[in-house]
Structure formats: structure tokens, C-alpha cells
Amino acid sequence: MSIAITTQIICFSVLSLVILIGALGVVLLESIVYSAFLLGGVFMSVAGLYLLLNASFVAAAQVLVYVGAVNVLIIFAIMLVNKKEDLKPISDIKSRRIISTSICLTLLSLLIRVDLTNAWSLSSPQNSIGEESTIRIGEHLFSDYLLPFEVASVLLLMAMIGAIVLARRDVMSKDISTGLPVDQELIEKSSEPLLTNKN
């Protein structure tokens, strides 16, 4: 066994172990902050797996999107609303747990079945594309995956325009159908200076 293959096996086992333990931690830990940070660790390890598969562009995109955007957003949200709150005990927790376990097990068995029945075409080291994968991804996005790509971009554009409309209140000052001024109290409440009312 050459040194390269040994390194690959060691990396793979460490990464999969981190993914498994991290994912269990995300679900099982009591503290939501720890869960969020562990989720970031899981995303990073998945990026590591992509690197092992010679897909460096996908790995970097994984880090940029999942760690840099999704996970940061989750942590941000948790920290902004980190209110100490006594949660009510849920009454029928036992039956809920049984139902969710059975759903998860069904999904797992479905995945295992796909894994076993599908004839995976393993690429040999000779025809792996490696560094060229970035170009190939681009070609696919603009040929056979054009429609999903465009649909996704339109979706993102809509989300962005929505965010701008929500952020710029002057756009929303009039009701579109009636033309009457909109009650701004709900949006304005947060930005009202608190100190001026006291004196």
C-alpha cells in the first residue's frame, strides 16, 4: 500500500468519525449554541470529504455557502434572540419520539436500499478530471442543467428584492391597493429612540 493511499484512508476515517459524532451532537446536545457550532464542524468535514474526492471547487463552495453563509446566519440568529426561557414540558413526548424515530428509520432504510441496489459507476484514477472539474461544472450549468440553474437564480433574485423592499421602509409607505398611508408602528417600533420619551 503506497503512502498516498494510507493517508487517504486515515483522512477518510477521521472525517467520517467527525461527521458522525458531530451530527449526533447537533441533535442530542441540550445547548443550542453548541449545536450550531457543531453543525459548522460537520459542514467543514463534508467539505473535507469533497476534497478527498478531488472535487476542490465543490469543497470550497461548500465552505463558502454552508459554513460562511448558512451557519453564520444560524449562529447570528441564535445570538440575537438568546433569551433565557423556561420551556413547558411537552405532554405526549413519548409518542412523538416513537413517531419521529420510525420516520427517520424508514428514511434510513430507503437510503440503504438505494445504496445497495444502485450500480455505482466508480471512476478510475485515469479518467478522473481533478482540477478541470471547475470548467466541467460551468459547462454543465450552461447546457443540460440550464433550467434548474436559471430557476434557482430567479428565486434568489426574488428573495433579494424582497429583502430590499422590507429594508427600505419608504417603499412601503402607501398601501398598494387602497393608496392609504400604511400604519408604520410595527416596523418603526424597533428604531424609535428610547431615551427621548423620558424627559
Partner: protein, 372 residues
Amino acid sequence: MEYGLDLEYSFNELLKGFGLSSEIAHIIWLPLPMLLVLVAAVIGVLVTVWLERKISAAAQQRIGPEYAGALGVLQPIADGLKLLVKEDIIPDKADGILFTAGPILVLVPVILSWLIVPFGQNLLISNVGIGIFLWIALSSIQPIGLLMSGYASNNKYSLLGGLRAAAQSISYEIPLALSVLAIVLMTNSLSTIDIVNQQNGAGILSWNIWRQPVGFIVFWICALAECERLPFDLPEAEEELVAGYQTEYAGMKFALFYLGSYINLILSALLVSILYLGGWGFPIPVEVIAKVLNLPINAPLIQVFTASIGIVMTVLKAYLLVFIAILLRWTTPRVRIDQLLDLGWKFLLPISLANLLLTAGLKLTFPQFFGG
């Protein structure tokens, strides 16, 4: 343009001469460039700290450090030693694990990004295909470390500082990535080597700064904001937040933040010089000089000369930018947080988007000037 010294090849040949297999020679070679770059980064930080102290002193008409070595050059080493032997404190109510992991998460991505910084045709750790994209991806990990240390300190100033730092680095990452994208569009490649090679056709005239003046300014502003340098050092604004997310840190953990911010500054300066100022290129192309002197381009002397010129030019350009950053820090006032976010979202983002569109249009119209 495949010239230049190939140190790895000669090193492997040398070890094979001692009777080692090529695989073992490769394994012995692997840590050497990494160590070299790490040492270079740390020495770069020491030089920058000294420069910062001296230039700030000059800007305020003081003398600055004077007694530690000639002109105080040993002052940064004294600073470092002091931080090294200080007691390592974890506050009683802080979260120990996250408190320790925060600074590490801030520092590691910055050091990893040095992977793609070229000092010459073959003088970089790894010419990875995704090149500059790797740096953009890695720099997006940093906010997590900042949020982590801000939260774990269990201190309201730390938390506010961490949140501000994360908000700032998210907002400035987008114009930064867009201005890099315009360069990538002209180069047809993400690799830093290709980006520099594409600029070195006609010396100083072919540098990207002439073709991307708007991108250059946007990139430089965003890089300063990402480094949390003074016009944008909101996360650690002393008057409002004590020291931001660093408030509770002492000793080596504080040193990690300190080191991280300075390494990041040098890295940003290096990347500006690579993306816009021709990287290792001399203002007059080396081929022209060789032709005038009637020397063959592959002569060993010319090769060594080219390599050393490359390193000197890269470092010189980077330190010129570091000098500008330090001058900016000691002469400009700090912006407010709303001004900072307004600048990022309402000015830099549209400008960099328009720049990207314009670059794409110009590339289609004048393919010979803007990369076909």
C-alpha cells in the same frame, strides 16, 4: 512562459542522489515550503508591528520605540515575548471550550490562505486550480470564530463586538468577491499564477490596476474592512466597546488574535499586489532586460536574478500597501456602524456589480485588451 527555478524538482533530485525513493523525497520536501511560509508570515508580522509603531509615532510627532535595538527594531519581539509569558486567563463564568477555540478558528483560515500566495513562477506552496476562490471561501470561516469568542466571553461588550465583526465581514465579503470575479473574468482562470502571468506581458502597462481602477479601489476598501483596520475597526472600537470581542482575552490567546489580524493585513496587501499590481513582475519585463543585455532567458544567472527580483517586487508592493494602510489608520476617524453598513450595501455592492457588468461588456468588445 514556463521558466523560473523549480526548487522542488532539484531538491528531489538531490535526495534521490542520496539513494532515497522519490516518494520519501516528496514527503521530506512537503513540510519545507509550509514552514518557510509560516516563518515568512511571522517575520512579516514583526516588521509590520514595528512599522506601525514607528509610522504612528511619526504621524503624531513622537519618536516611538527607540531603546530595544537600533531604532527599536527589537520592540515587536519584546511585545511577543511579553504576551508569551503572560498568564493565560479564562474568566470564571466564560465557556472554556468555545473561549479557547475562538482565536484558533480566527487564525487558522488566515494562515491556510497563504497556500495560494505566489512569490514567483514556482515559488508558492501549491498552485491549486481554485486559487483565489480558496481564499474567499476560507475568509468566510473567520466570522464563526469571532462570534464564538464574543459569545464565550460572557461579556456584553464582547458579544456586541463579535456580532459587529461578523456583520461587517459578511457585508464586505460580497463586493470583495465581485471585484475578484471581474479579474477572474479577464484572466479566464482562478489560479493566482495565471492571474499574475496575464499581467506581465508589457510590464507596468499591463497591470490590472489600469484595466480595473474601480475594482482596485473597491477591493482595497473591502480588504481594509475585512482586516478591521481603522476607518472600519468598529468591532473593537475602544470608546464604545472597550476592546470588542478581545476584551476578556489575555496572554497567548490574545496574541493569536493580534497575530491573526496582522497576518491578515499582510495577506490582503499581498493579494492586492497579485490581483492588481502585477505580483512578482518588475515594471519592465525581465525578458526585455535580458534581450537588451544579450543574455539567454534560461541562463542560470538570469534565473536566480528573476527569482530574487520576483520575491523583492512582491514584498515591496505588499509593504507599500501596508504603509498606506498604516497611514490611513493613524490619520482617519472611525465611521459609525450604520455608515459602515450603508457604505458596504448601498455603495460598494452596486458599484462592484456595475464594474463586473462593464468588465464583461468590455471583454466582449475588446477581447485583446480584456482577455479573450
